[in-house]
């Protein structure tokens, strides 16, 4: 009988092209997603060396980071030019490079356009058991389908374009097991914020994490994508959730997914991927679902997580002296005083979107709270940015857009938006944002912007009251 293997080991072993004596492996890449920010220098490198793209058929390009989320087409159906000349140049570079190198390109006004990590699963491009890369750290997202997916830098983007492989060394494995039943008001986002608080921003360094346990099994694919998306926020190379019937039901019938006899063969293979009984991980962390509350961040690292019922911590309360200094700097930047109740913190901006929380279930959860309510007067700016044009269409079919606009939100076109302060959607300096995105770094949502990471339902609740709010107070 063969040695029991983890899901990670199975995927890794199935992708080794060559192994060198020092343990470095040449790993085959099944899927490569490309966006406009981290690819121009890679294409330029290929051109300079006279190299071509080895497998354009395994590569898919879509713009997302730079795109304004305001209307894309004018009344005559013509594309509206991008005002920022540098953004325009970067978007044009992708639009030119994709066809030049034979890569499929989804353009900005196509309904299929969206954030790469929403588009991949939605189109059936991302599949269980595959290796998926993108020049973007949140590529870990696709691990929610059971794919070994991770972010790479531009040199590696060029390497994958030229060779369809990467030179890699095997990471260590970690199991994060979440058992029990989620309490009311607790979503996948709260689970991953809680995990990040427990592990710390570097807790997963050097590891690929498999999320297991009854809580993960009970989650929808959307929820699993949210969890795996933020694997990088606790430092992991990648996150994984074993594919199961929930996964297969999600993928079946998607445009780029296998169909017919191919589908049956694919599912048969995917069923072999789950971690074998008796397989061991390098590290195991157990989390009790009962300990997870609706969560929120107070500082400038995703590890700075508290239950919404918590109070802003005193820096001297941290054991680690470097964390004490970091906490002091964070509180200074965030304009917060230790001892303040999180629910007393006023917010002026609400952002519902990003590759973490812009799928249909996220929008439904936020709309559920906003139904029949309006945003508070002190909330100056509230936007909803669907993860793709198809999510947007579906939400409109369900009438969610009217709930959002009725509550005083702006209903936008898909893109990365206010997650990263790169396109026109930014949070003004000194103001706070309850944000469903993934990073609360200094300046992340714009210079001087103060970010509190929350779930979609919690963002909606904060919009209604104008302060960070325990969603359980508003839930019907």
């Amino acid at each position: 009988m063969s040695t029991p293997q983890t899901l990670y080991e199975k995927i890794w072993n199935a992708h080794v092209v060559e192994q060198r004596d020092d343990g470095t492996c040449l790993i085959f890449i099944d899927r490569h997603l490309v966006h406009e920010v981290t690819s121009p220098q890679a294409f330029e490198g290929l051109r300079a060396a006279g190299r071509r793209v080895r497998r354009p058929d395994l590569t898919l390009a879509v713009p997302d980071h730079n795109l304004p989320t305001t209307a894309r087409l004018d009344q005559n159906g013509q594309p509206i030019p991008i005002a920022d000349p540098e953004s325009a140049q970067q978007l044009e570079a992708l639009e030119r490079n994709a066809p030049e190198f034979g890569i499929d390109y989804i353009n900005a006004s196509d309904a299929k356009q969206g954030i790469v990590h929403v588009v991949g699963p939605e189109q059936g491009f991302s599949l269980p058991g595959t290796t998926i890369v993108c020049g973007d750290s949140h590529t870990a997202c696709h691990g929610g389908l059971g794919a070994l997916a991770f972010g790479i830098g531009t040199s590696e983007v060029e390497h994958v374009l030229a060779t369809q492989t990467l030179q890699l060394t095997r990471s260590k494995s970690m199991e994060v097991r979440v058992e029990g039943e989620l309490l009311p008001g607790v979503s996948a986002k709260d689970v991953v914020l809680h995990i990040t608080g427990v592990l710390g921003a570097a807790g997963g360094s050097g590891h690929v994490i498999e999320y297991t346990g009854s809580v993960i099994r009970a989650l929808s694919v959307e929820g699993r994508l949210t969890i795996s998306n933020m694997a990088i926020e606790h430092g992991a190379r990648a996150g994984l959730v074993a594919p199961d019937d929930t996964t297969f039901a999600y993928i079946k019938g998607r445009p780029m997914a296998p169909a017919g006899a191919d589908w049956d063969a694919a599912v048969a293979y995917w069923r072999t991927l789950a971690t074998d009984a008796g397989a061991t991980y390098d590290k195991v962390v157990s989390i009790d679902a009962a300990d997870i509350a609706p969560s929120v961040t107070w500082g400038t690292s995703p590890e700075d997580v508290l239950p919404i019922t918590g109070i802003v911590p005193e820096p001297s309360a941290f054991a680690d002296p470097s964390k004490q200094e970091a906490a002091r700097k964070s509180l200074d930047y965030m304009g917060l005083t230790p001892g303040t109740r999180m629910t007393d913190i006023e917010v002026q901006n609400i952002f519902i979107g990003s590759c973490t929380n812009s799928r249909i279930e996220d929008l439904r959860a936020a709309a559920e709270i906003l139904k029949g309510r309006k945003k508070a007067a002190n909330v100056k700016w509230a936007i909803v940015v669907p993860g793709s044009g198809l999510v947007k269409q579906q939400a409109e079919d369900e009438g969610l857009d009217r709930i959002f606009t009725g509550a005083g939100f702006e209903w936008r076109e898909p893109g990365c938006s206010a997650c990263l302060g790169m396109n026109p959607d930014k949070v003004p300096a000194g103001e706070r944002c309850a944000s469903t995105s993934n990073r609360n770094f200094v300046g992340r949502q714009g210079p001087g912007a103060r970010t509190h990471l929350v779930s979609p339902a919690m963002a909606a609740a904060a919009a209604v009251t104008g302060r960070l709010t325990d969603v359980r107070e508003l839930a019907s």
Binding site: V17, L26, D104, G151, G153, A162, G421
Partner: protein
């Protein structure tokens, strides 16, 4: 990649933990289609603080930076490594690095050297007054005060750094093995070929 085997000179004593990629280079600087010129945006938010080490003439042109745990966490942006190289930094010493940053640094001949916190504390002290020497060949960091710290590095990365190896060129030598893998893949798992949109 340009070859690198030694770095010596002053070091920016930064020391903070969890210095993320948005601190190293904010997103607004990522709109470039070039690899050069990003130095002027590097560490923008830290530089906004009066008395910061980056604008202290004492450290002008320092080729080394000393930081706390989890340096380069966050985004995959290689712009972080490009920006540091552009401002003249050739090596970062920290107790740990994010996996992606460490890879990006390597691809750009920027040394990401891991030393324990006690060594970092000592180097932070030395950095305020004196030079620090890094020798990749002997895998050591030394100071004029007889401090000597040994560091680990992956042998393949060490070889590539010292010889300035073009990694894509190296992988392309394995083209036949890649072709053989692809042939086996289409036989074993033909359903992997994506339907085109």
């Amino acid at each position: 990649m340009k070859a690198i085997s030694r770095v010596e000179g002053r070091a920016y004593p930064v020391g903070l933990k969890n210095i993320d990629t948005d601190v190293i280079i904010p997103a607004v600087w990522l709109k470039t289609i070039s690899r050069v010129g990003l130095g002027k945006g590097a560490f923008e938010s830290l530089r906004a603080v009066p008395g910061n080490v980056f604008d202290d003439p004492e450290y002008a042109g320092a080729p080394i930076l000393i930081a706390g745990d989890n340096f380069g966490c966050g985004s995959s942006r290689e712009h972080a490594a490009w920006a540091m190289a552009d401002m003249g930094i050739s090596a970062v010493i920290a107790p740990s690095f994010s996996d992606i940053f460490s890879g990006n640094a390597f691809k750009n001949g920027l040394l990401a050297i891991v030393l324990p916190q006690a060594a970092i504390d000592r180097l932070m002290e030395v950095a305020r007054t004196d030079d620090i020497h890094i020798d990749l060949e002997t895998q050591t960091v030394t100071t004029p005060f007889q401090d000597r710290f040994e560091f680990e590095i992956d042998p393949f990365r060490k070889h590539c750094l010292i010889n300035g190896v073009d990694e894509i060129g190296l992988t392309l030598k394995s083209s036949d093995a890649i072709s053989a893998y692809e042939a086996k893949l289409s036989a074993d798992r033909p359903w992997l070929a994506p339907n085109q949109v």
